[in-house]
Structures are given as structure tokens and as C-alpha cells.
């Protein structure tokens, strides 16, 4: 589908419609996923994305992201 952004998210293929501005940022993606950005960390193509640049880190088709959080562990 033209215009959609095809990503690999935590190992799964997912497609997203970008916002009216035409570009999808990490911040925008977290919003679409309804995730609390204060509780997660994001890796884009195996590079950490600092929280401070979520809004201006743009995603394009083919990007691979890992979105992680803390869970119980020993």
C-alpha cells in the first residue's frame, strides 16, 4: 500500500500509516502503539535511540526496531 511504513517491530512485520505530515517518527510510532515512552527503550537498526530525539527520529520502510521494558528477573 503506498504511503505506509513497513517496519520490523520486535521481530514482527508491521505496517503503519504515517500521520498527515507524511513522516512517522519514533515518538509517533510509540503513540500509535499506545506505549508509555517513559517506561520503554528503543533500538533502531541496532542503535539506541535516546528519548530526547524520539520526535525527530524518522522511520522508513525496512527499518527494524526493538522496543523493550523492564520485567521481573533474577
Amino acid at each position: 500500500m503506498p504511503g505506509t511504513v513497513a517496519l520490523t517491530l520486535n521481530g514482527e512485520s508491521r505496517s503503519f500509516d504515517p500521520p498527515p505530515s507524511g513522516k512517522l517518527s519514533v515518538l509517533g510510532l510509540l503513540g500509535l502503539l499506545e506505549l508509555d515512552m517513559r517506561k520503554v527503550a528503543v533500538e533502531l537498526n541496532e542503535e539506541i535511540v535516546p528519548r530526547s530525539v524520539y520526535a525527530e527520529t524518522w522511520l522508513s520502510s525496512g527499518d527494524s526496531l526493538e522496543i523493550v521494558h523492564f520485567i521481573g528477573g533474577g
Binding site: 517491530l9 520486535n10 521481530g11 514482527e12 508491521r14 502503539l33 499506545e34 506505549l35 508509555d36 517506561k39 520503554v40 527503550a41 528503543v42 533500538e43 541496532e46 539506541i48 535511540v49 535516546p50 528519548r51 526493538e66 522496543i67 523493550v68 521494558h69 523492564f70 520485567i71 521481573g72 528477573g73 533474577g74
Partner: protein, 263 residues
């Protein structure tokens, strides 16, 4: 001899000072409510946590932070499940971004069923992490040379196993732990192998600065009561260490006077 310890009995790792000498894991509990109750009962001020993928199909699922407040309890991110240095370093970089903490627990493991510390991988990851500004508390083999080398590299705590992770076998190596402790000046923590309260007390009697455990509480029939037992065991073991145990002797030494007996 008034029975009081001079000053408060605290320990310090990487500049952070703690009263509790019990570090507990947050894994393998029935649910997050039980996790929170057990941590509360244990009195622990540091908990280990794992870093995993968010379940994207259920973004509103309760998260650990909702039950264990990272503002009150120090989160110590671990690298459980990492079998290479690269995986461990990547995991802890994500943890630092998720929580903003430099203090981490490094473990690079060998294959199941032992999950024994992979020391070449551990050295490699420790070097990379220290270079990147992390303060590394390191899970390691009970190897005196490795312990000293990790300390020289800049690890902030040396944490050898007492027995394999989750085995609950208790300390299989108390003599070796004591000998390693002699050559370590940073905090020395027994990590893994504790099965019940007496094991934790023994670790503290040996002079360890703290004990790290998870399954011994989480897999007890009643985790919250076991958490309380562990709190007391660690405190008792610590006090016994400070008090200094009596010498062992091969034979009896009567406690009651032998004079004044009726005849």
C-alpha cells in the same frame, strides 16, 4: 561491650550506600502483586530486573514499575539470558536508556543446564561496559584469579555463585568463597545458589557484603514469609560475622562450672 555496633552498619557500592544487605530478584513470581509483597517483606533496597521486548499486542498490560517504584527501590538491570558479550552489552545499553541507570548486573552465561558463568564472555563484556561508563556488578565463577582481574578492570562488585542459578543447592564452595573474599576489596556478594534462610546466613557469616537471590524466595511455598526469613537470616549472619564466632574445638568444654558440685 554494650551490644551495639559502632555507627550504622551500611555497605556502599559505586558510591551508593545501602542498609539492607539482601538483593532480591523480581522474576518467577505468581504475579506482580506477589512480587511487590515479597520485596516489601524482604526489606531489600536493590532489586534485579530483566530487559525484554514489550508485548505489543497488550501495551496496557501492567508493568513492573507500577508495582515496584524505581524511585524507592534501586533497579539493577541484569543480562539474564545473554550468552554472548555482544548480547549483554546491547541489553544493558537499552536498560540504561529505559531507566537511566549506570549500575548494572552483568552475567554472560554458558549453556543450560548449568548456566555457568562464561568467563571469557564476561571479561569481554565487562571491558566494553566499563569503557562505556557503566558501573558493573559482575556475576562470576568462584575463581580467585578471575575475581581479582575483574576488580582490577574496574568492576564495582564481585558476585560469584554459591551453586548454579536457581538450583537452591546452598553454598557448595564456602571455603573457596572465603579465600576469594580475602583478595577482593570492592563489595563481595554471593549471587545464585541460595536455597533457604540458613544458606543466606552462612554467606553473611563468611563475611560477604551482601547476598543476591531470587528463586529461594519466589519458589518457596509461601514467598512472602520466605522473604521475611531471608531478611532475618541476612541480618543474623551479618551480626554473627561482626560478633566473631567462637573457636571450634575437638571436644567438650562444659558451660557450667565443675566446682561446687554436690557429692
Amino acid at each position: 561491650m554494650d551490644g551495639h555496633i559502632a555507627g550504622e552498619d551500611t555497605w556502599t557500592v559505586a558510591g551508593r550506600t545501602f542498609r539492607s544487605r539482601l538483593i532480591v530478584g523480581t522474576g518467577r513470581y505468581k504475579d506482580l502483586e506477589e512480587t511487590a509483597a515479597a520485596i516489601e517483606a524482604s526489606g531489600a533496597e536493590i532489586v534485579t530486573v530483566a530487559v525484554r521486548r514489550v508485548n505489543l499486542s497488550d501495551p496496557k498490560a501492567p508493568m513492573l514499575q507500577d508495582y515496584v517504584d524505581p524511585k524507592k527501590i534501586t533497579y539493577l538491570p541484569n543480562t539474564a539470558g545473554c550468552f554472548t558479550a555482544r548480547e549483554a552489552v546491547r541489553t544493558l545499553r537499552l536498560a540504561r536508556e529505559a531507566g537511566g541507570w549506570n549500575l548494572v548486573k552483568l552475567e554472560v552465561l554458558g549453556p543450560a543446564p548449568l548456566l555457568y558463568p562464561d568467563m571469557p564472555g564476561t571479561f569481554e563484556a565487562a571491558a566494553e561496559l566499563i569503557k562505556d561508563g557503566f558501573e558493573v556488578m559482575v556475576y562470576c565463577a568462584d575463581d580467585p584469579l578471575a575475581a581479582v582481574r575483574l576488580q582490577e578492570m574496574g568492576c564495582v562488585a564481585i558476585m560469584p555463585l554459591g551453586a548454579p542459578i536457581g538450583s537452591g543447592l546452598g553454598l557448595q564452595n564456602p571455603a573457596m568463597l572465603s579465600m576469594i573474599k580475602e583478595n577482593v576489596t570492592v563489595p563481595f556478594v554471593v549471587d545464585a545458589g541460595i536455597g533457604t534462610a540458613s544458606d543466606a546466613a552462612i554467606a553473611m557469616e563468611l563475611g560477604c557484603d551482601a547476598v543476591l537471590l531470587n528463586s529461594a524466595i519466589a519458589h518457596a511455598k509461601n514467598p512472602v514469609i520466605m522473604a521475611k526469613a531471608m531478611k532475618h537470616a541476612v541480618e543474623a549472619g551479618r551480626l554473627a560475622h561482626l560478633a566473631g564466632r567462637m573457636p571450634r574445638r575437638m571436644g567438650a568444654d562444659p558451660s557450667s562450672p565443675l566446682s561446687g558440685l554436690i557429692r
